[in-house]
Amino acid sequence: MSKSIIKINNLSKCYRIGAKETGYKTFREAIIDGISAPFRNLKRLQRLTKFNNNRNDVRSNDIIWALKDISFNVDEGEVLGIIGKNGAGKSTLLKILSHITEPTGGIIEINGRVSSLLEVGTGFHPELTGRENIFLNGAILGMRKKEIEQKFDEIVNFAEIEKFLDTPVKRYSSGMYVRLAFAVAAHLEPEILLIDEVLAVGDIAFQKKCLGKMEDVAKGGRTVLFVSHNMGAIRSLCNNAIWLNDGQILKKGTTDEVVGNYEESQIRRFEDSSYVVERNPEDVKNKSFYFSRVEMLNERGEHTNIFRYNKKLILIVDFAGYLVGDHFSPEFRIYNELGQLVTTGASGAFHGKYFNNKVTRVRIEIGPLIVTSGKYRISLSVIVGSLRTDTWENAIGLHIIECQPFLRAYEMPTIIEGVCVLKHSFSAVE
């Protein structure tokens, strides 16, 4: 049986956030306020580091508990993923474990040397050369000079920066900078390694290399606590996971279990009633023929606005008003989070398909959705004759999740990896 290397007992941490400032009403108030400001500031700054241990202190409305009575143990050799939405307390937990900040309550027992990687390239100095920064950064991460000397060549190789070793890092490309920074960190050899979301850097090839390195670390019997929003990475690296929510543990268990639950909750969070949208009557006041309602379904005919990569999406649109011509043609445009037009569709112009005045409901099937993960919005418009009688901007929104067409551990988001993912293959030419 493996023994616990980290024991966490009733760990709590609170921060004091600045209380809301009150606005002035009169000139006189503003003047008086200006005069009394130094006293108030002094009081506020002094309070910053004073906490009443009484948790039910009603006056302390500017205190937030980043962690509340967390208890768990980590076994030797365990690779534990920590997940949860922003502000759940993940980073605070790592900061306390790595000794950067002190807990407000509770006790932690750690039996081993801890190294933490809360950020890649901490302490890099732009004016220093690559070589100098390797030593400086290594020392900052807790390596001894001798250790760094031993691993120096390995680090340089991993980062692929041999040629630029004696160039100040401010002349490096951002890619080189990140590679060097990660390379130093990757060669840490502590008994316990704490990692916070550091894989979200560099290009895909390098990310994959980092993941590979991480896997080596994880399988090398070291204890790792790994915070990430990348569920793919968590799945492939960790045996167990903890789901933090509002400073408390919501679930602890095997990775598949916890991540599965977490993802479902994420989907439910996106999913509100917004898969059926009624038109605001104000929008259509002066319009003759217009959209009155839209709903969104998946291939199985279920209402949703969450779609996985490569699935189809179905829109049911209702029309209202009076059709002046004989027939109409609906159109749609899909925009991504950056406001770029991703694609467009039109029944008349593209397919020669027109609907007559007996039709008030049209089904639009779109897909497979080969777009990268992120938020999208659909705008609708309708053409009657040659006239666009109605445009419904941002009629409905959707989320694409799990755009992982190739690498199991890597999700391709819009912001970094482009608009869509096309099928492709590579082969050697003899």
Partner: protein
């Protein structure tokens, strides 16, 4: 290792400090290497600062105000003080701002926080040595030779470092919470310059105030320098004793205040 909320007085963990000596070394090296990067004059800046101040002071105080200088040429009288003073002023300024300039380190990695304010105190020694060489050249030029009391020189340098780090640690810790300190430091340094015997000799003060004057540790240090190197006055043992006591008190209280407050640096910086 146990992590829990700390209560009461924090003592200095020397074992831990020694474990982090490599980091300390690299941070000092960083400070030294980076200081004059991308400058035309480079290391010459270490000389220019005290040297030009000396020229200005010589013109205004030496020539115009006819300030006494204990019987030796005013330029070398003033420069001998400027060498120590420039070191002290820079060390206090950089040390007092050290937590702010290293914010990203403080909030992202753990290391004994004391290293931050102590780094500039050590790194400044290089500039001090460069300026000191210029002082020696000046002494040759004015045909002044040091006396036996030069054996006290290492002690004076240590006192200078103790004082600078004591004040530096105190200011750094306060600065983490009250950013007013950042704007106070230049002001404080300027006032302190005139409260120390730099443009004038300590002998200008009436005898009865001289011991009280020595409560400013820079008084003993600077007068000690002058006496040992230039033979201005008899070695000021009494003054130096008080100054030594004061600088030790400053150092210990600075360090203790820093240790008591360091637990929340990462949270509020």
């Amino acid at each position: 290792m146990i992590i829990k909320p700390k209560k009461g007085w924090q003592l200095i963990d020397f074992k831990e400090l020694s474990e982090y000596r490599d980091l300390f070394y690299f941070l000092v090296a960083r400070d030294i290497k980076v200081r004059y990067k991308q400058t035309v004059l480079g290391g010459l800046w270490a000389i220019i600062q005290p040297f030009f101040s000396m020229i200005v002071f010589t013109l205004f105080f030496g020539r115009l105000a006819k300030m006494p200088s204990d019987g030796i040429p005013y330029p070398v009288f003033n420069f001998s003080a400027m060498v120590a003073w420039t070191y002290f002023a820079n060390a206090v300024t950089n040390s007092g701002n050290s937590l702010i300039t290293n914010t990203n380190l403080i909030s992202k990695v753990y290391f004994p926080r004391l290293i931050a304010p102590l780094t500039p105190v050590l790194a400044g020694l290089l500039d001090f040595s460069i300026a000191f060489i210029v002082l020696i050249i000046m002494m040759f030029y004015f045909h002044i030779s040091p006396n036996i009391m030069i054996l006290y020189l290492p002690l004076l340098v240590i006192l200078m470092m103790l004082t600078a780090s004591g004040v530096g640690m105190l200011l750094a810790a306060l600065n983490a919470k009250y950013r007013d300190i950042r704007y106070t430091i230049p002001f404080l340094v300027q006032l302190w310059l005139f409260a120390s015997p730099i443009v004038y000799p300590a002998s200008m003060l009436p005898e009865k105030y001289r011991l009280a004057y020595a409560l400013n540790p820079m008084v003993g240090i600077i007068e000690g320098f002058r006496s040992a190197l230039l033979g201005t006055i008899a070695f000021p043992k009494q003054i130096l004793l008080i100054s030594t006591l004061m600088s030790v008190i400053l150092f210990i209280s600075g360090m203790f205040y820093f240790k008591q407050t360091e637990r929340y640096f990462a949270d509020i910086i």
